[in-house]
Structure formats: C-alpha cells, structure tokens
Amino acid sequence: MFGYAGKILYVDLATGKTRTEKLSEETAKKYVGGIGLGMHLWLSNTKTRMDAFSPENPLVLALGPLSGTMFPTGGNGHAFISKSPATGGVAEAVAHGTFGTELKRAGYDAVVMTGKAEKPVYLFIDDDSVKLRDASHIWGRSPGEADDVIRDELGDYYIRVAAIGLAGEKLSKISGILNDKTHVAGRTGLGAVMGSKNLKAIAVRGTCDVAVAKPAEFLDLVQEFHERMKGPAAKKYRTLGSIESLSINNDLTCMPTNNYEMAHFMNADKISGEVLNEHFVIKIIACNSCAMRCEHEAIIREGAYKGTMTRLEYDNVWALGPNCGIDQPNFIIKAAERCYYYGLDATSTGVAISFLMDCHEKGLLSHEQLEGIDPHFGNANALVNLIEKIGKREGIGGILADGVKVAAETIGKNSAELAQHIKGLEVTGYDLRCLKTAALGAAVSFRGADHTRSGVLVLDLKGIVESLKAEVGRGKLVKEFEDVTNLLDSLMICKNAKGTFYGELVDIAKVYSITTGIEVTPEEMAVAGQRIQTLAKLINTRGGLTREDDTLPWKVMNKPVPDDGPAKGSVVTKEELDLLLDDYYQARGWTKQGLPTKTQLKELGLEAYADIVKED
C-alpha cells in the first residue's frame, strides 16, 4: 500500500500483550484515516454502551494516508477517538506537531488501546517493538516534563511523545492529550480517558520509509500547496495568527464576553493581535511538514510572571481573556501556560472559570465554596489561582474540573442557565446568538459545542449568508461543510490550512488518489464524508444522545445580545432551532429524530450497526 502503513496495532494495557492486524485497502478507502478510521475502529471494537472510564472503552489513536509524507500539515497530524466522559458520545480531538509523523514511520496507521494498567505506565512504540514501561517517576509531572524525561531515559532526542498532565491523571473531563510540548488533542476529555487507563504517555520512534503512489505528481502537488500557503489563504495564520480574530469578532459584536453576558469586550484593544504580537510574540514556529507556520510563541518580558513562555492562539486568549473579562496580557499568558502545564483544554478551562465568575456575581455560591478567592469578572489573580486548583482538582477546582455541565449539577440553583456548553462540551469564542449558521453547526456537532466541526461560521462572519437569520437551506450548507471537515480530519489536514483546499472535494480526491494510488472521485469522497458523520452519529446514539441533545446553551436561546450594534437583541429561539435542525436532518437524509435510516446505513456499508438505530 502507498500512503498507508497497512497495519493496526492493538495493545492490552492490562497485560501488555500486543498484536497487529492488516489494514485492508477496502477498509482504508472506506474510512479514509484519522477520525474516520478511528471511529470505525472504536465502533468495531465495542459491543454495547459502556462508561467512558471503563477499561473496555478503547482509546484509539489514528493517522491518515498523508501522515509521514511531505504533504504540508497532513504529514504530521494524528487523531484520538474514544467515548467521551464529558458528552457520553464520541470523543474526538486532533493535534499536529511531529508525533503523527513518527508513528507512521514506526509502521502503523492506528493504535487501539484497551484495558487498564495496574500501575502508571507509558507505552513505547519502537518500530516493531512495543512495550509498556513504568511511569511512576513521571506520574504527576506536566506533559512537557514527561516528554523530556522519557526522551532522556530512552536516550533519543528524536523520540516523540504524547502525554497527559496531572488533570488527566485526576480524570478531569476537560483534560487533553499533549504532544510536542504545545500541541493539544484538547476537546472532549480524552486526557481523562487516558488517565483512567493509568497510561501517562505514548512514546514513539519510527525508522520505516513512507512512500507515495505517484512521487512526481505528489511533489508537484506539495509545491502547489506550498505556494497556496504563502498566499492569501493562510496570510492570517502566517502574520498575526488566529488571534487576529479577536478584533474582528469584537468589531462584529460576536465575541462572547463575561460568559456570554455581552458580545463585545470594551478593553479588547489591550489584548489585540497587534498588541500581543508586538510586545509578547518572540517567534513563530512550525509543525513538521508545514509551509505556513502559525505557532506563535509568546514570552513575558517584564512585569508579573516575567519569563513565562507559552503558545498563543485566539482560542486560549479568548477563553482566558475576554470570556472572563480579563484584559491583562501577562495573566492571560500565565493562565495559558498553566493549562499546558496541567494538560487542560484551555477553551473548556476558561469557560469553566467564566461560569464560576458568573455564578459568583449572581450570588449562587457560598462563602465557604469560594475558599477566599473572589472570582468576579476581570479578576486576573483569581483566573490563575483557579487554574491551579482545577489542575490539581483541589477544593473549588474539583467542582470545575469536570466542566460546566457537571459543575452546574453540583452548584444547582439555576446555575445550569449560566453553563455555556452543548452536550457537555464548553463553547468556543464565537457568539452563536448572532452567527446562526454557526449555531446550527454547533448544535449538531457530534462532539458538542465547537466551531471547528463544520467551520461553517465563515459564512456568517464574511456575510455570505445573513448571519442573524435562521432559514431553510442552512442545513445543506452545514452538511456540506461538515463532510469536507470530516475528510480533512481524516486526511489529518490542519484546520488552519483548510483555506488552502479551495478546490474542496476536488482537491481532497486528487490528494488522496495521488498519495495512495487508490483512485477516488470527489463524489466518492463526499459519500465518505457522510459515512464518517454517520459513524459519529451511531456512537452518539449508542451513548444515549438524541435530538434533545442537538441544542444550544440556555443563554444563546434566552438572553438577547445586549450590546449596541447590528446584533443587538439577537437570540436563537426554540422555533428557529427546530427549523434549522429539521432542515439539517433532511439534508442528511435522517429521520425527524436525527437518526440515519436502515436503507441509508446499508448504502454507506454500515448495516452492521443497524441495531443501534433500531428504535425508529
């Protein structure tokens, strides 16, 4: 096979036993790779509903056919798939860096990890040699520290490591899996799944060749994408970085501020992309194989937390900044660094803290619960203190460490109305009240609140559709965007590079065919996109999720945008949501309840899972 390694590795963490299975060309073509292959492997290795923390819940690590090749961004990514402890549905998160490249060279397309180790261990995949090693000496250390210790003790600088932090060890449902120091498979609580298996880290060394089917054409394609990456499609990421969105969203009055109390942040100028780049960003670095480099490394040169260095993106700056009413860059940078240190999803962590601040300001918390912290919006010291407590799962941090849905259940008293999540996953930095196509995308996103699952918000932001209007037709748009995203996440193309695929399905089919030698048409790829979406739906359905879970946070539906501007007064009503959902399910060919039909499952080659939807 070309592109693919042709091999799946199975590891039983309880016994240390391993085995490999061949990846057939048929399976490879059907599920593409990455999240598609990962969800297939998760479903085909489970039989019934289970707890996310049960040893039987497989943690699947999957690569795409481009992994290990020179194809920009596709060469380096990896996906984790499991059952999410946060949503009860599919856990899905991808990350880039160099880890995926190394795993492909070790000769695997995916690793399926089941069981639970008796004591803390790490998995060392060294080409054909796969061993569990003691991790008691790195248990409790940060992912970055674990990375250094492992490479040092194995004596190879080029070994690549994905690890969890203290938060994952303590089963925080907002913890992620980190690789290459600053790359996080952050969403849906995958760090906790890994922690529940007593698995601290996965270390990989690979020395095998990766070959493509049509080398000359492949290199021409790489050259073309290098050119595209140097052009307008990636300019934002190459210059100010995704943080540029802060001013854009704020000017459009669609930047959630103070836990969705507002959609505009008064002090945005203090933490704009321009300010952060000029005063804090010291270097922009790249992931393996990427020609557009977008990783903005920031350092605090003076003042509080001097010397702290971390990676800045729109997502962590928004979540830990405006979302908590905080305008002090030093504290935002420190908070971001602490999230990496503990192995937390910065987005969910910021939303958990803004939720607590909101509860406090509305008088829902007792003096005892607060333990001397005064978490009002804008209190930057409280932000950093709370992250320490969440990371260590101490006191009030323990309430927040499982995300806002669980925290609201503990706090009670209408606090659920302040919990900004969908399906148990915290929202991201785009106000869904005034971006209604994005609102639909977030409501139906299989992993919960997330703008990246479809990327459809670009239509709202650029005014391609009327962003304040909910109308028939948006369902089809969301479906089409999701299908493309599903494929890019299966080819492990970075979401920041999505803009370079302006030929969408045509580009995807071309890249796939040239790399693997398996000829596919854009139409076949579209079907694969639908198949991957259906796999996720099947996992969610088995987990107990229904149409009721394809919903929006209370504030999005009940608290109109208060800020002056074009979006003032906007909200997504129940009627609008129902209209959008009906339209989307119809575009997917699903039932009114949002379930695939048996006929459709058969057409997609998923009839083996028909029992999951037997209810209808």
Binding site: M70, Y157, P215, E297
Partner: protein, 165 residues
C-alpha cells in the same frame, strides 16, 4: 582543488528556521525516493520551542571524520570538498560519527554504513533542502559569504538602531 575559501556548504539561519523539517523530507526523497527523516542528510534540532536550526555537513578543511576512519573508507573530494564514503570499506564502526562536531555523519538504518550530505551534486537544480525550504532559511555558502552576511546584518542593525534614536 578547492581552497578553504571556495568550499561550499549549507548554512541555516536560525532566525529564519522554524523547525518544519521540510528539508529532511526533501533530502530523504532526493537521495532515497522515500520520506524518512532517519535517511535525511540534514536534521533539524529544536532546543526550546523558539530555538530551531537545521544542521548538516560543513565540508571542513582537514575533516575530523576522514581522519578518524580506521579503515580509510572516507576521503574528501578535492573538487567539491564533499566527504566521499567507500561503502565497501565502511563497516559502520561509528568513529567518524563520534569525531564530527556537528553530528553531520549518520548511520543508515538499512545499509549500516555511514552517509553524509553531498550537496545533491547530481541534481541539476542543486541541494533539494535549499530548494524546498519555505522560509528561505537554508543557503549554499562559502565561509567568506557567511562572514559578509554577518557583517552586513550587524551594520544594518547598527544603523537601524541609530535611526530609531
């Protein structure tokens, strides 16, 4: 014979290098028709996140690798300065690897003999790592050119500082 002043080698500008490792892909593909960093003649080192640099053979005068070889498997081309490896003579003992200050000599994972940068001497468009580097961080230089560059950038900085004050 090339003199010390004419010797060409590949230099990486650490201010420009972002650690993307595209040079490694280009090198392994150019020499071995596969993507495999452990078969690349240039390797990237990331020391802390912000310090990145690609390292390869500097074509030293009186190279330590050649001197270290106990089997006379290594020699230096008088024409190009490239290190020539007699694969039949090399038994993979690794003395040359130990002798090289830059880590430019590497053991091939399959042949178990050493290999090193040859400036893509058979490629009409020159070293492939230089061609592919998206940041233009790699250049083929002589030591004189490097010194000139350093002088120019120092002077530019000096006057820039002056302009600002």
């Amino acid at each position: 014979m090339v003199t010390l002043h004419d010797r060409k080698f590949i230099s990486a500008d650490s201010d420009k290098c972002v650690g993307c490792q595209i040079c490694e892909y280009a090198c392994s593909f150019s020499h071995e028709k596969v993507f495999n960093a452990v078969k690349s003649r240039i390797r990237v080192v990331r020391a802390r996140q912000i310090k990145n640099i690609a390292v390869t053979c500097r074509k030293c005068q009186e190279p330590a690798c050649v001197a270290a070889c106990p089997r006379d498997a290594l020699s230096q081309s008088l024409e190009t300065g490239n290190i020539i490896i007699d694969k039949d003579q090399c038994n993979g003992c690794g003395w040359c690897i130990e002798a090289c200050d830059y880590g430019a000599m590497m053991m091939h994972p399959e042949t178990k003999t050493v290999y090193v940068c040859d400036l893509c001497q058979y490629k009409p468009d020159g070293p492939q790592c230089v061609k592919w580097c998206p940041e233009e961080a790699l250049t083929v230089v002589t030591s004189d050119v490097l010194a000139q560059k350093a002088r120019l950038s120092a002077i530019k900085k000096l006057f820039q500082d002056k302009d600002e004050t």
